[in-house]
Amino acid sequence: VEANRPPEGKLNPFALPTETDARFLLLMISALAVAFLLSDPLRYILDPNAINPYAALPPAPGDIPVDEFFQAQVKYGMQLMLASISALILPLFLIGMTFLLAAVLYWDHPRRIRRRKVTVPLSSQSDPRFEQELAALSTQAGLQGLPNIELGKNLAVQDGQAFGVGRKKSLYLDGGLRILLRKSVENFRAIVRHELAHIVNRDIDKTYFAQSLWTAVLIVTILPLVVLVMYFFVSSTYLKIVDGLTSAELQEILFIKFPSFIGFVLPSIGLIILILLTRAGLLRTREFYADWRAALWGSASTLASIFELQSRRRKTGLNPLRLHPSPAERLNTLKKPDLLFGVSADVPFVVGVFTSSILNGLIPIFLTMMITVPPGIIALNSSLVDYARLHPEVPLTFFRPFIYGLLAVTNLVNLILALMPFLILAPLAASTIGLQVQRQALADLAGRNGGIRPYLSLVVPALWMGLGMVVGVFLSPLAILAPDSLASSIFAMICLVLFILLIWLVLVYTRFIGGRLLGSHAKLTRPDGKNRLLSVLIAILFFSIEMPLVAAVFLDKTAAPDMLQALLVLAALALGMFLLIGGTFAFHWIVFHVYRLIRPVKCPSCGQISSESAVVSRNCQRCGKNMVPWLYVTH
């Protein structure tokens, strides 16, 4: 009975890492992908002659004499490389500019906040009591010294803001906090602890850099492109209207130019709105974690009473762009940390959208790089072969290692470049939606919510991710993955259904293995190692799904093969993926059981071997203590 009694306390929101870190990374990588994607049309607009960098290339070496073959091969490779480099110059330049501007905006954000808030640095001894209290709270938060304190002049408000660059961060505190310290020291501590929690939770760099990066993308690529496109559309249309429109010109404007213009502007606007919504959603989640950190430092009841009072005082309407949750939501999450262990709809959707938009941006980058780097290596190789041919006195064994080595390097570079977008995206998907499923599995174990139903309900996040992928394809300006014919649309739809099904299976795997692996972690410390191992395994599965399916959609669109042939290849791929997931599932289940036979679960307090392997929400059968103390907090 004692062992079956649920442990005391609430779920510890910091028991596993949060998925928000990976979501920040997705937000940043997607900024670069969009910047690259948009730089290509800018190149066309700025230099119409550079429309096709490969136009001036000689034909590839064909049936030419051996004497000339290798020279022609070298020339062709070098020209191909130079043409690709020329196509990369502007995008790389713009990405460089974007990074530079983002860095400047990021480094400058403390100055902008100080100027906007009209702050004054807290001078030593101006308010010793205030200073002492802040120093004590910083020490409690585990910070090395007091952050830079910037005071606001408004004595009527008691807000704060964390910011800063480098190791030593800054805290803006409203002048009203000095009054609050005198009137209600616990309220004062709650606010300051919340701000210190943003520093300790490492929110500052991610928040301000992601914001700076997207602002830079907007300034460097999106706005110039929108302005240029509008200018060309309006000026050309206006001139035609002034000169008198012919019927053909009117048709061209109505059915070609205008739809193209709208087709470019609307996705750009949609993308910007989505970025703002994503950023707001991310920051709202980070607020819950900051509240919880402050609660663990001793401000739980004070924060709860503040939120309660504020939720009564002001009714907040639905505003998805708000950066803070409503007081009622904050109170609810403080009371029920299980809410931070659920699988939400927005995370898989956002992951899907960014996966698509990043693929849309990264695939052209890596394709261009594939045309840039390997031809150079092949040219070098050809010249080596030619040299060997012209110098028979040098033994061929001397050249062979170099030639084979270069060919291996070429293949390796090609392989890395082809896999790179997926090598970036799969771990991010595993660290977002995969992590959420791991957290949910733990919370369900704690709440003893078992059965088949939670597994079936994982189809919902899989559907959201699939929907996000579709939205992401169409929101990406110049959607290269978007189907352009009926046949490719049907093929893409089949791929999407398959994708959703496979993602669901991966999530089922994550819940099943995650629950067993993490749920048997009877230690005092967090299961960081097991969590990382799981994330790697899930990333491999995500990679195994995303890469072949996206490649299938892309190749189907570009090569337009026979439909039946394409479907057969897809069926073979699907079979392979089902076998892979099933095999992984069975293999890991066996490995887990063997592992637990060798290393049975022991109570972290008294060392008693447990008769059960899933010990979440269980107490030790001998000493009665919590078997998984890392998962619970008491405050």
Binding site: L155, Q158, D159, I179, L180, K183, R314, L323, H324
Partner: protein
């Protein structure tokens, strides 16, 4: 108007401080700063809803300071009393009016000033309570403080 002179301001300040001492003694430590802040914003600031800045607390105003409300109440009450005294004693000099106003708030003042009528008292209490509400105090706090302020007048 006399209340805007340094002497009048000092009078308002002293009376406000007495009220703060009674209702929020913890604010006395920073009374001077709060009083100067009130002088810069004598009409009161709109209640803050929380700035919603990234990585802010998002909570805005958690607790209302008493000092600006007390100062606003005292200013309103003195202005009212001055106008009432002016109406009653139109032929008297400003020095005399000033001392009458001061004596109304000072139980130890020599000479007996004309006390306000019950209707005037009620009016001044409502006026003070309204100013307190303008500065974000609760209805209960506003009532208590306005009664205490009017009480200091009715002590005469």
């Amino acid at each position: 108007m006399w209340i805007q002179t340094p002497e009048g301001d000092e009078f308002v300040r002293e009376l406000s401080k007495q009220l703060v001492d009674q209702f929020a003694p913890e604010e006395l430590e920073i009374f001077d700063e709060l009083y100067s802040d009130y002088k810069k914003h004598p009409t009161g600031l709109a209640p803050e809803q929380g700035a919603d800045d990234a990585l802010g607390s998002g909570l805005g105003e958690i607790m209302v300071a008493i000092t600006p409300a007390a100062s606003a109440m005292v200013t309103a009450v003195i202005s009212f009393v001055v106008s009432e005294v002016l109406k009653a004693t139109q032929d008297e000099g400003s020095e005399k009016i000033k001392s009458k106003v001061k004596s109304l708030f000072n139980p130890k003042a020599p000479g007996k000033a004309a006390a306000l009528s019950p209707e005037q008292m009620e009016k001044v209490q409502k006026l003070a309570a309204k100013r307190a509400l303008d500065f974000g105090l609760s209805a209960q706090q506003a009532k208590q403080m306005s009664l205490a302020l009017v009480g200091s007048l009715s002590m005469q």
